[in-house]
Amino acid sequence: MAEVGADIGRVRIRVPSTITKGEVIRVRALVTHPMQVLSFDKSKKPIEKNYHFIYKIVVTYNGKEILQAETTQAVSQNPFVAFPLKVTEPGKLVITFMDTHGKTYEGSAEIKF
């Protein structure tokens, strides 16, 4: 029985089902993550701790970095991002998410024509 919220780091990627060479496709990705927000003490000061959220997303295609995102606690829980990718050759899309607790989560998708 999975505990609610324990399933951190599951990555889902969606790419169009048919892709033509040279097309700029739209890639949709989601990773399950709490993206913890600040909590405050009685005097309205933020409680000091290492909040747990994804701070960086790196997208590579066939090993080459396509784009990067610096994300913050002001990105929603279970971060969703969508981005373009110009596909000139078949290959492997890899999306890596890094969080403040030192964990990385990776998802990949094969792209063929």
Partner: protein, 173 residues
């Protein structure tokens, strides 16, 4: 801040965490000056709270005094006019600007004026992305202007903004 610096901070963080949270709290709070706290924050864990910031200061911090041109016609920001809740607000930024090797959109910033720290996210693109168009789900603390600032590789900046009203529940939820 580039990726390498962050990697170094990770190892420092694991060392600092052994000192315990109490020590870090004491240091961060006692100074209380904006930029000083910022400097200290860089030696703190990656997820440590950063000081609150007014949007004018965010923009100054990110772009110095560089001029920002209105992006109407070049940049489109799609966000719901009324967000059902501030926790998940889908935004899409689309820039009708070149993405060639010589001239391309280098960064797209999403900024929410009334958030405690207005910068929601920064996307860095390469020409291989093919198009300057990103979407993300962001958090809004309250009704606010949401801005998209697009930076070209030659440093030119374009901005558009939209007001997003954040609804609070009626029946509480």
């Amino acid at each position: 801040m580039d990726f390498k610096t962050r990697e170094q901070k990770l190892t420092r963080r694991s060392f600092l965490s052994k000192l315990g949270a109490v020590g870090l709290t004491g240091v961060a709070v006692s100074l209380g000056l904006g930029s000083a706290m910022q400097a200290l924050a860089q030696s703190a864990p990656l997820g440590a709270p950063l000081p609150s910031e007014k949007v004018e200061d965010t923009i100054k911090r990110l772009f110095g005094g560089r001029s920002i041109s209105p992006g109407n016609g070049k940049v489109k920001l799609e966000a719901p006019l009324i967000a059902e809740n501030g926790s998940v607000v889908p935004v899409t930024v689309e820039a009708n600007l070149p993405m060639t090797r010589d001239k391309y959109v280098k960064s797209i910033y999403i900024i929410s004026d009334k958030n405690r720290r207005p910068l929601n996210a920064k996307f860095s693109l390469t020409p291989e992305a093919g198009k300057a168009s990103i979407s993300a789900n962001i958090r809004l603390a309250e009704t606010t202007d949401v801005r998209a600032i697009v930076e070209m590789n030659d440093g030119s900046l374009y901005m558009v903004k939209e007001e997003v009203k954040v609804t609070v529940g009626g029946c509480g939820g």
